[in-house]
Amino acid sequence: MTLFKHSATELQEMIHNKEISIEDLTAESYKRIDSLDGDVKAFLALNKEQAIAQAKEMDKVPAAKRGPLFGMPIGVKDNIVTEGLETTCSSKILEGFNPIYDATVVRKLREAGMITVGKLNMDEFAMGSSNENSAYKITKNPWDLDRVPGGSSGGSAAAVAAGEVPFSLGSDTGGSIRQPASFCGVVGMKPTYGRVSRFGLVAFASSLDQIGPITRNVRDNALLLEAISGVDESDSTSANVDVPSFVESLTGDIKGLRIGVPSEYLGEGVGEAAKQSVLDALKVLESLGATWEEVSLPHSKYGLATYYLISSSEASSNLARFDGIRYGFRAENVENLLELYKETRSQGFGDEVKRRIMLGTYSLSAGSYDAYYKKAQQVRTLIKQDFDQIFEKYDVIIGPTTPTPAFKVGENIDDPLTMYANDILTIPVNLAGVPGISIPCGFSEGMPLGLQIIGKHFDEATIYRVAHAYEQATSFHKQTPQLWEGANS
């Protein structure tokens, strides 16, 4: 067993009572990584020397100056830039890239006193649902090493599920926090678009991307989101809205809560186990005083096509910057500048990234723009309106996070459309820009299932209140993978 079975609040109490030091906590992370990460393969670059030195210094800081996350170890997804710590987006094209500044969220982690342990593996440039698109390694699901952890924040979810770190940051463009959180049995939040600064997040699809926290329980998640939220002058799309105390919303009281359950989320293409776990969860929420009714997101079935056109178009533009000139990989033995661009990009990007750049370039090109890109943006409006209408009558929307539990490594890799179908329940949330969380709600074939709770714009507080009330009434979040038992700590 590990110290990381405890919540941040419990760990702070242990530090306060001098049962453990911050250095012990940091060392515990590296011990767990040493003993488990050979199998789980969640981490890329590690920050060991600096992290231990930082922990020693922090042990000297007086208690009065410590916040609730002070001294807590955290892993950071590898598309979030960290000054002096290699950041690759799991792509060959950024091999050896050492950022010269910190992302705003990384600065905020430091201000909260968190210790960055290392960088976490992902699908290359966050394009994927299984981590199999990483150029470096394939992260495995801690519940079953033959299965994928999900993606693209697969490393972030697996590291928390394996108890290597109690906290991590991921990013979510179409489900990339919630889907791996669901597959790995942990808590993952995609905040409202604009809640968290994207400055220093390597852009995939700028109108959809959002950074969010992954943790083992709802309270820790709320603490971390509070720490990273807020308007930022370096990101003009960050929203100038108040950041409430999300922890204060964890009252356990959901009496009178109105829940909408989209029929499309319990319909065709969604597995029986996922459906049943949601129906069971609704019973729990009813017993706590909530009511639910079936509602409809009639345009959600168009979400997948809309998403792939918009996200690939934005990606083809965003990824134009990787040209071998100022940073990262540069092709050799080329004749001229044009060839340098083309060879660098062809050798540096993996297949899925190239496929999406091609799709995006095609849908933005003359003659296709109106038929594909503009059409998708119009359908996006209809999808957003579906959510607006439901939220006039209901406080939250609930459904499964994914249609099925984690699949086997290699099972879907050769078929892009089947792989994309993993994200049908998470994508509409990004298109509408609303917040959504995945929390553990059951098991099927020994693998975790996730409950998705979706809220109104900037109403993460209600999502957390519902998630916390459900969590306190159930014990799914307390279960840990088998590999916890054998590991040294």
Partner: protein, 96 residues
Amino acid sequence: MANISKEEVKHVAHLARLAITEDEAEKFADQLAAITTFAEQLNELDTTNVIPTTHVLPLVNVMRKDQSVPGLDRDKMMKNVREQEAGQVKVPSILD
């Protein structure tokens, strides 16, 4: 099913600054055709007069104050440049 020729694929690859082989052009032609065919389901919807959503927040013209601030340090900016000479980025010839 949408038909995308190998020539079209090569044109798009050029626009995207990707060098592709004949085999890749063939593979991409099939895959792009499959994905765009899938995307054509959007044509089931009448979107006449629907305003496209480019962005979900009601933000317009976000400006910073018109004040000069120090930029990034030049030596730092050169840190990740593979080939450089006299503080400048070196590239292959741009003219034949």
